[in-house]
């Protein structure tokens, strides 16, 4: 089970959280120029790396706030927790 460091409440058990899937997805636009492939990509195609993955989490049973997590999908190790609206790059963790 993961111990997740909520940026607002501190470390809590995984059970208190909801998983929000891939982070940093942008809706393509403007709407009248979007091809079927781009729309399909936006709706259904997700990154699914064996390694570091950036994803959204919600502290559902706590502060009910969203935040981003960079986590390794093979080891489950959480590399970084960072606020919504910000980005995270590998350099930051080094």
């Amino acid at each position: 089970m993961l111990l997740i460091e909520c940026p607002y409440c501190g470390p809590r058990a995984e059970l208190e959280f909801r998983y929000g899937g891939q982070a940093h997805i942008e809706r393509p636009g403007p709407y009248d120029t979007v091809t079927e492939r781009e729309w399909s990509d936006y709706l259904f195609y997700r990154t699914n790396p064996k390694g570091e993955h950036r994803e959204r989490w919600l502290h559902a049973a706590g502060c009910r706030r969203w935040f981003n997590v960079a986590r390794d999908t093979a080891s489950h190790r959480i590399v970084a927790v960072y606020p919504m609206g910000t980005t995270y790059t590998m350099e930051k963790s080094q």
Binding site: L15, F17, E36, Y45, N48, K50, E55, A74
Partner: protein, 415 residues
Amino acid sequence: MTTRYSALSLLREGLNGQRGWQPAWRDAKPKTRYDAIVIGGGGHGLATAYYLAKNHGLTNVALIEKGWIGGGNTGRNTTIIRSNYFYPETAHFFEFALKLYEGLSQELNYNIMFSQRGMWMLGHDRHGMEMLHRSANAMQLNGIDAELHDGASVHAHIPGLNTSPRFPILGGLNQPRGGSARHDAVAWGYARAASALGVDIIQNCEVEDFLIENGRVRGLKTSLGTILSERVGMAVAGHSTVLAAKAGVRLPVSSYALQAFVSEPVKPCLDTVILSPATGTYISQSDKGELVIGAGLDLYLSYAQRGNLPWMERAAAGVVELFPAFSRMRFLRQWAGIVDIVHDSTPIIGATDLAGFYINCGWGTGGFKAIPAGGWCLAHLMATGASHPLATAFGLERFDSGALIDEASASGIAH
């Protein structure tokens, strides 16, 4: 050397000290060129290789597997076979698989121990019962037999069910031809039959890269050297996106851990398969006597083949609620498989943007029951270049056109 299994050959080998048996399949080394290569030595890959040889006469075929055959999800699932789906496309496809399973022991000359002991879905409230009625009607419209039972009948058929559970059992939907089979035997039976037809089964051979020329696949670079082929099929479940990325192909697949566990073996006490979506319970008893319990999908993307404690606890709680007598059983083993989840919980069998590269994935939490049909349809696609009539709706195009087959909600697939 004795190759086929029969009462006579068993007797002869018994008298002969079992010295004449030939290995079930040849452990082959790769040749430089094949007419077709199948990546992935699980049930779907092995079935594909077998049907390429059997149905299409392609015997110069290699099946390559990173580890050992049947060591992935084929060896990690809860071995339930059923075809209680909602939409015609999926219902017909899974029913075809079930029918192939019914004749598979004879077909492969290998006892897959398919036991059609029935498969029950339980309803615990009015809405659950409405869904079961709807499922039963859909199944019967698709030509699949289904029985609806009221609560008293469910209790009469399944001894040991809690008579006063917190969530009362109002009724159940039984598919009498559902059941379970021995997972390893399915993999080994297909491997043995494919090998006998000339297929090379190559284990410990990892795909490192795809050889691509002018948008066509030309072969594979593997840990055992370069293998050339104009036709490559892939059936690697949870690792589909990782491998397809090497071919420059993106897939709408996400990988999650799905866990299962078994109890210590006990005498026969449960002679059917029970699924109770509302309490999160999926339980059957293996021929060895272990209770086989499937849990829910973990919360997040994962390639770690281990499950999470909260989900194990939830599944165990559901089992104890339905069968109080099992509360003192001890667990023997727990594990997880990495499953390939797609948005609509309907498989993908189709061509890709890379010519000559075909895929079989997206089985999510229910690939075992589909093995014969998945292999049949991928073999058809690889051999003819055209989709099998049963699988025309399962192509990648559906994600562009929007023609999804939403079994995720229609069949109430919980994950």
